[in-house]
């Protein structure tokens, strides 16, 4: 059988639909947090900002217009299960489908050569691939468009191994203070603790793909998340920098073991438009290697 003949159109449509959901539909967990914040916010200006954000989500959904014109660098997180192995052609199919999705849905191409800076294209998706043995059949794709107003405020801090929780908390609050009103607060802050420099930053991003309206399953992290959130919300930057009690909606921590000589802390700040959407690709024909 000639593998190149396998029809991958169904998969492509599924991926394009995933891209559309990421941009046109506010994540339910984010929406819950925003509604809650709008209820609690007392001052008029920050409350109005929160209401505009929610109205924007409704407009995006109805009009099929991206929630934010910064449609980001599309990050694709792919998890293959215990049976399948992704083929080079599979990678190509997924890349092409994401690019087509952006083009078809009139999403802004924001990807340029770092120095030439002209002719933004639809070809530059970034890619993370994991094996997840819990997936019995098929592969799971998550599209996470990351805008750069907030990505520019990402931070890596290599702390000493003797640093305590307080120091970790302090450097996160400092990063948020620096991000300030221009990075589209209220933020959702992802923190990756441990691993290596690159891994800590990846964890900080990955943790935001999961539900952000509930705390970590690790009780120590749950406590830290709460404490950091309280400290951040005392900064008074507020929604769209209008002051008020909600500079961040949530803080999420994920960790990995690290080296005896260090304590990397990766901080990823997401704007209020924390976007992602996932799908399980069950028909993996044309994406996998045989055997």
């Amino acid at each position: 059988m000639n593998k190149n003949k396998i029809d991958t159109r169904e998969t492509e449509e599924l991926i394009i639909d995933t891209v559309a959901r990421a941009h046109f539909r506010m994540r339910p967990d984010v929406k819950r947090l925003l509604l809650d914040a709008a209820r609690k916010e007392r001052a008029a200006a920050p409350r109005r900002a929160l209401e505009q954000i929610l109205e924007n989500a409704r407009a995006a959904r109805t009009d099929k217009v991206a929630m934010c014109q910064d449609t980001g660098l599309p990050l694709v997180f792919l998890e293959t299960g215990r049976q399948e192995c992704l083929s080079p052609r599979g990678i190509e199919v997924i890349r092409r489908a994401v690019a087509r999705g952006y083009q078809r849905l009139a999403l802004r191409p924001s990807w340029v050569d770092p120095f030439r800076r002209v002719s933004a294209s639809y070809r530059g998706i970034l890619w993370h691939w994991d094996v997840n043995p819990r997936i019995k059949k098929g592969m799971r794709i998550t599209v996470c468009p990351k805008g750069f107003g907030s990505e520019n405020k990402s931070r890596l801090v290599m702390l000493n191994p003797t640093a305590g929780r307080d120091e970790v908390e302090e450097c996160v609050v400092e990063a948020v203070r620096d991000a300030g009103p221009e990075s589209c607060p209220p933020f959702v802050v992802g923190i990756g603790i441990g691993g290596t420099a690159d891994h800590a930053l990846l964890l900080a991003k990955k943790v935001l793909l999961g539900r952000v309206d509930r705390g970590s399953t690790v009780s120590l992290f749950r406590t830290m998340e709460k404490r950091i959130l309280e400290k951040i919300n005392r900064l008074g930057i507020g929604p769209m920098g209008m002051g008020g009690a909600h500079t961040a909606l949530a803080v999420k921590i994920m960790s990995a073991d690290t080296h005896i000589a260090g304590l990397p802390v990766g901080i990823n700040i997401s704007c209020h438009a924390l976007r992602s959407a996932g799908a399980l690709i069950t028909n993996t024909g044309g994406l996998t290697c045989a055997g």
């Binding site: 900002a49 217009v65 589209c184 900064l235 002051g243």
Partner: protein
Amino acid sequence: MRRITAPVTARAARALEAGDQVFFSGILLTARDQAHLRLCEYLRAGKDLPVRLQDQIIYYCGPAAAPKGRPVGSCGPTTSARMDAYTVPLLKAGLRGMAGKGRRSEEVRRAIRKYRAVYFLAPAGCGALLARKVTAARRLCFADLGPEAVYELTVRDFPFTVGIDTRGESIFHRRTKGVFHEKK
């Protein structure tokens, strides 16, 4: 709610105060990083600008492509601080104001006062909402920059907050509790 229409005269600008909520209608010129770089090169070389800036408002925005049947796609503001280094020469050339998101440098705040300009804050991250208020769009120059080209947007009732007024009063400056100091 106060209403204001572009082009904005010196007199109309003077009536605005930091913190005011306004509905803005008329023309906005989009320009962001690369377009600013080019406009400033024109000025440095002593050449005529490809767009007229007198009494106009530059909106820091790179709109998403227009879906079928609409003038423009998602079109929220980008971070204004990145344009700080290029703002003063444009104000000098007659620009009446800017619209974007976030703080400005002290240099820009002073220049806004000097040239009797105004800085508006647009609702950040609300591109779909703002797209509903754009009635027409056309590209004016720098086509090779794609979404970063200069577009003329005709808008109706854009909800702006006055960030810095003609007296140099800033909403970020006025709040003194620590975080709202100007960007260094």
